[in-house]
Symmetry: C2
Subunit: 347 residues, 2 copies
């Protein structure tokens, strides 16, 4: 089968790899219908996260079950399914607690030895705990299929950010980062009842999406000027909840500066220096909560899926570029130079 | 009147200062019956927190109202009262939200220009928002009076740590730090329903108090060995909630190492390098919440006071040394060399 591999910085290839197949009784094989490129894939693309040459890449996909192991009960061949970006057994203590990302038997697509999402098919360990069935009719609805694909990571991660930040009905929220996760956090914050959502971003196409997702204010400044602007919009105190969806020192400093005493920072940007942006004396004096991490997307799927199916939640506009598998490197390039927000890979 | 002042590192004096008096209509003057020395006073004592020469010191006291301004309604002369370690107006948005430590008109005893708690009397700004009345009968009950004194800071701070760490009924908790705040956090964690409380400490007199407060396990190791011990006690996963009651790099590293994925660190140790102990990649991967800061003790008083009055909550054993005002420097010395846990100052 064909699958995307990474051989070094800026070296994304599509190659023949061994066919995905059931290896253990809990496995299923999913033929991929839609995959996409994640902002976190760009850390590997840019050489900032180490990968073995030839390692698979991509961790967001949905598709059709084509084979199941003898122990699989929850899905069968022919089922349309979405996969969260980590697999999990669904039965361990952490899965029971709603933290499948800490599953004792868990893992992430594209890890060494595992299939990646950007390929024709994926071997899914612990299929019963991992995969979520979708209505068969969704397969013929292109817009819906793309929206459902977002549940594999970006929408669930935006939701995790908003939940972790402590967004409540009536809250004022700031979102640091106008990438796809930040935009999904806008959707999530509004869904959780935020009254006001201030997006920090300067890319017009992205802030337009943010407004269409319910952002009430856009701040184009950066750093201290951005903090000053958020404070001016909020009577000098800052916002109840900040979503930090970047992961750098500056983005975390902005988050700390923008949050109101007693408020929370929900952080989901993969940390690349963000710890240095945490001024502990400020956090201490203002009782600011820092909460977040790798999103337990599987745990959120039962809550978010119905809203997507009903059309009440539609993250599909975060995908602004469509590429075929053989052209997946174009998707990386476009996202890297920010000419595309998020690339969907079609099969 | 006589009051404690600090003139430089290890230079604590008791001097004549201007009498405390009502200066504004919202003020009250409290004649101090009991004060105490806080672990955070030791940062100033050791020269690690800057003070102006001659600045007052001490922020924990209870006593009798002797004078009130014309706008004061909630207390009157003769009332026995306890003061939280910060004053607050009780009416601003932050006070209404339960965060009096961020009160627009707030301040802390011993700040430049304010009276300190370790003196014969204290001018209390915003008396209605700040002071909490106690039953008159408590004045003649030495043990109870000492327990009530703990509500001015150390017990409320221990409670804040436990609440911030997310202690829930059935939780397994670790407490990093066997100082008075850590010990009060043991009490608070048990009060909140913790099933198991592991105290990290090696000072036998303190860990004995910890056990009498409900600690179920004591770990004498430090650093990585302490983390390994906590993990061994908890099936390898760590605890649901960690109280970080020290504020150093090592104590925060221990807290991060000891907490279970999805768990929380409640931190109340005044930060002295603790930020460097936060490994963001670990927090991210394990979805660990970091929450806490300066404790909004005033907001907790209505909840904690009845339990202390009924005897269900008794933090008085954290006081193991009693000194008169003129001997307050002995209290600092004894706490500094760890021969005393916490000194009460009697008048």
């Amino acid at each position: 089968m064909r699958a995307t591999t990474i051989h070094g910085p800026y070296d994304i290839r599509v190659e023949e790899v061994p066919d995905a197949r059931v290896q253990r009784p809990q496995d299923a094989v999913v033929q991929v219908l839609r995959a996409c490129v994640c902002g976190s894939d760009l850390w590997a693309y840019r050489g900032e996260s180490a990968r073995q040459p030839g390692q698979r890449i991509g961790h967001e996909f949905l598709g059709t079950v084509v084979e199941t192991g003898s122990d699989v009960r929850a899905v069968r061949p022919g089922d349309l399914v979405v996969a969260p970006f980590t697999w999990s057994d669904g039965t361990c203590g952490f899965c029971a607690e709603g933290l499948p990302t800490s599953c004792a038997n868990g893992g992430v697509w594209g890890a060494a030895g595992a299939d990646g999402g950007q390929g024709e098919a994926v071997r899914v360990p612990y299929a019963d705990g991992t995969l979520v069935r979708l209505p068969a009719a969704a397969a013929s609805d292109d817009r819906l299929l793309t929206a459902l694909l977002a549940l594999s990571d970006v929408m669930g991660t935006g939701h995790h950010a908003a939940v972790s930040a402590g967004v409540r009905p009536g809250a004022t929220v700031a979102v640091v980062g106008d990438g796809a996760v930040g935009l999904c956090a806008v959707l999530a914050a509004r869904r959780l009842g935020a009254e006001r959502v201030i997006v920090l971003g300067r890319h017009a196409a992205r802030t337009r999406v943010a407004r269409s997702f319910g952002a009430t204010d856009v701040v184009a400044e950066r750093g201290e000027a951005a903090v000053a602007a958020v404070r001016e919009l909020t009577g000098g105190h800052g916002v109840h909840a900040v979503v930090e969806a970047v992961g750098t020192r500056q983005s975390m400093e902005t988050a700390v500066g923008a949050v109101r005493p007693g408020g929370g920072i929900g952080w989901v940007g993969v940390p690349h220096g963000s710890g240095a942006g945490l001024d502990m004396s400020v956090l201490f004096r203002r009782n600011i909560t820092v909460r977040g991490g790798i999103a337990p997307v599987r745990a959120y799927l039962p809550e978010l899926l119905p809203d997507v199916l009903e059309g009440a939640l539609d993250p599909s506009p975060v995908f602004d570029l469509s590429v075929g598998l053989e052209s997946v490197a174009d998707g990386y390039r476009a996202m890297d130079d920010r000419s595309a927000l998020k690339a969907v890979v079609t099969f």
